[in-house]
């Protein structure tokens, strides 16, 4: 898995093309996103105060970022007072170094709870390079890991695989030739496979859903119980959390424990939420470390126009709602964070140096904003980031870019009614050879072909609205402009 710090290999349209031809993948993605969306819709609409919860969620996240330095210090103070250790990492490499030093143990193994943050820093690769074996314990992450695959969704990372594909994978890698392909069979196989790891591996690595400044506590939200296994049974627990994960107080959970499960999996509450603070004699790991990760989150914070990207609580609702994601799945984004949130987060975490095609991987329809539990205005940030991509280009290229030239020409035409009329007249003549019998323009020549490559176009009508209006209201003078 390439961390976002590296240059993305392919841009979005290039990477999406083969995926669009993969009918199996598209039907798997469509099914999974349909199911979650349906469940989400049902449980969100039974909440009379959903919009008020979203408002509060947005305000709490905004407030936490405004006072981030103080809250981080407060978290550190309380965590240490409860017997925990707190480390700070400026970037992925530093975080990996810290974890590697802490994770060495005689078994050479580490069990892991599904964590986007460890994907982001490429921790598994770093552990493997140091000769250690990270074992993913979330069912979907296990499927991804055993298949040397990449996660394709924040909440259900293996949604691109169906039961038959998973059956083949488990039968091969777990040496179970008789394995059935019912989801029950596959889940049981994973339970048996992982049970021994839980009971014998001395070290676990986790991410965090929330850090609570007031108590120094950590909260993890999960379904399968693999999270509870990892954070309860081993002797040592290492939690890696972005500095954006902070909540001011314990009470704030009352908002997020309502917003997150309904948005993420369409459940009223997910099966397990765990909260713990430092270490407790006789209960759970006796050594606990938190690694607070920046990895360019402070750069995201710096831009007031896109700062609210950091409000994200990683529910994945925007992915399920996005018409682009629903066509391509997560892999086309070529970044750890896919879908609408990935399209705004990845380029920013990469300092706009890679993932530059992602802000364009959207139709700006606004579905993501509507479902976002903390009201991140993703379409507006996408447009802002498109601006930043263009600003980043050399001036001459920017000025001579066909789109920029076309826009300047449009501006010049629109400024004068005479020019507009003339252009419309010319356009009506020029378009004639391209109008198909269906009444649509399906293909334009030359440089204009870029527009019709992925969409059809309505031709200019024979009569403009102004002409129609004048004809029906002969008394009305020319429009006041011009």
């Amino acid at each position: 898995m390439a961390p976002v710090t590296e240059h993305a290999a392919q841009d979005f349209p290039t990477a999406a093309l083969p995926l669009l031809h993969n009918a199996q993948l598209r039907s798997n993605v469509r099914h999974a996103t349909d199911v979650i969306q349906g469940k989400r819709f049902r449980v969100v609409h039974e909440m009379p105060d959903w919009q008020l919860l979203r408002d509060a969620g947005q305000r709490i996240r905004q407030h936490a970022l405004e006072y981030l330095d103080g809250y981080l210090e407060q978290f550190e103070h309380h965590c240490i007072a409860a017997g925990g250790h707190v480390h700070w990492a400026r970037d992925a490499a530093e975080a990996n170094r810290i974890v590697l030093q802490l994770a060495r143990n005689e078994t050479g193994r580490v069990i892991k709870i599904k964590s986007m943050t460890t994907e982001e820093i490429g921790l598994n690769r770093a552990l493997e390079a140091a000769g250690m074996q990270p074992i993913e314990t979330d069912l979907a992450e296990l499927i991804v890991q055993l298949g040397h695959d990449k996660p394709s969704h924040i909440v259900v990372p293996a949604l691109h695989k169906n039961r038959h594909e998973i059956r083949e994978l488990f039968a091969r890698t777990m040496n179970l030739p008789e394995l059935g392909d019912r989801p029950e069979d596959l889940t049981e196989a994973a339970r048996v496979y992982l049970r021994q790891q839980f009971l014998t591996t001395p070290i676990a690595v986790s991410g965090a859903n929330f850090l609570i400044a007031e108590t120094g506590g950590v909260c993890i939200v999960e379904s399968e119980g693999n999270g509870r296994m990892c954070l309860t049974l081993p002797q040592k627990l290492i939690t890696i959390a972005g500095i954006d994960k902070i909540l001011p107080r314990f009470r704030d959970l009352e908002v997020f424990l309502q917003l997150l499960p309904r948005s993420a999996t369409g459940e009223r509450m997910n099966p397990y939420n765990s909260l713990w603070t430092g270490v407790r004699p006789g209960d759970g790991p006796q050594e606990f470390h938190v690694v607070l990760l920046d990895n360019r989150r402070t750069e995201v914070l710096r831009d007031p126009e896109s700062r609210e990207t950091l409000h994200c609580i990683r529910c994945g609702a925007c992915q399920n709602a996005c018409p682009v994601y629903r066509q391509t799945g997560g892999h086309a984004y070529n970044s750890v964070y896919a879908g609408p949130i990935g399209a705004i987060l990845s380029p920013q975490l990469a300092l706009m140096k890679s993932s530059q095609s992602l802000p364009y991987a959207s139709s700006l329809c606004g579905a993501c904003y509507e479902v976002c539990p903390v009201k991140i205005n993703i379409p507006e940030i996408l447009i802002h980031l498109r601006g930043r991509v263009v600003e980043g280009q050399p001036k001459l290229i920017r000025a001579l870019h066909p789109e920029a030239v076309a826009m300047r020409a449009m501006q010049w035409i629109f400024l004068s009614q005479t020019r507009l009329k003339l252009a419309q007249w010319l356009g009506r003549i020029a378009q004639r050879p391209f109008i198909r019998r269906s009444g649509w323009i399906e293909k334009l020549p030359g440089i204009l072909g870029g527009w019709t490559r992925t969409r059809d176009l309505r031709p200019l009508p024979e009569q403009s609205f102004r002409a129609w209006f004048q004809k029906h209201n002969p008394s009305s003078a020319e429009a006041p402009h011009d």
């Binding site: 981080l72 309502q258 009223r268 402070t298």
Partner: protein, 227 residues
């Protein structure tokens, strides 16, 4: 570890000063405390259902998760527990400290947790606990671990309700609230202790979005609502 710690202190100050160079320039007229208190919380803070409706809602939600729900009057708890355990064919049942001796039926080898090994826990048939708070709207049982505030609510260490495959939870009628904010308010005194929210048996929907009950935590959850 020395180089980690040497780098750590500079990483800490660098990250904090980066943040201060950004947020420090903004309007921070209010103290964090005042600003936090000023956040509008117009969502439901209290439920509107009476106690009987709350219990009914909780029961509905628990059943929706695949848990089985029973009711018992104060004197019927031992009999109800005996009936459930017999039906489930469970014998060796672990006890959390919060379990009152008056609940226990005769004839079962109940096991108190005396720092048992994980293997010993794994060898038990199940675990019997109380419940600190139950949330009706979400069908959630909240367990506080450790005698931080009062032993009455100590549901034992977290491994007790994790390793055995069966969980029987006794919920006092008085512990049931309707909404999440009411529950968080009651949990405030335990905020520094380990807390587990349990909403049904463990589950996954990772394979074709089909909900499968019972992955790593207890696969079966029974609940007795004690009147």
């Amino acid at each position: 570890m020395t180089d980690v710690h040497g780098a750590a202190s500079s990483a800490r100050s660098e990250i904090l000063s980066r943040i201060r160079s950004i947020t420090g320039s903004g309007p921070q007229a209010e103290s964090p405390r005042e600003a936090w208190q000023a956040i509008p919380r117009l969502y439901r803070q209290h439920g509107t259902l009476d106690s009987a409706q709350c219990i009914e809602l909780l029961e509905d939600r628990l059943r929706d998760y695949g848990a089985r729900v029973h009711h018992a009057g104060p004197s019927e708890i031992p009999r109800t527990i005996a009936m459930i355990l017999a039906e489930r064919e469970k014998q060796r049942i672990l006890l959390s400290p919060a379990v009152s001796a008056s609940w226990l039926p005769d004839g079962f080898p109940f096991v108190a947790d005396a720092a048992l090994s994980y293997q010993a826990l794994d060898a038990c048939d199940g675990v019997l606990t109380g419940c600190t708070v139950a949330i009706a709207t979400t069908g959630t049982l909240v367990l506080c671990h450790g005698a931080g505030v009062d032993a009455e609510h100590d549901q034992g260490r977290r491994a007790l309700t994790l390793i055995p495959d069966y969980h029987l939870c006794i919920v006092a009628r008085s512990a049931v609230v309707q909404t999440v904010p009411e529950a968080m308010h009651l949990l405030e005194p335990y905020s520094g202790q380990p807390i587990t929210f349990i909403s049904g048996p463990s589950a996954t929907a990772d394979i074709e979005m089909t909900r499968i009950q019972g992955v790593h935590g207890p696969r079966i959850l029974d609940v007795v609502i004690a009147e």
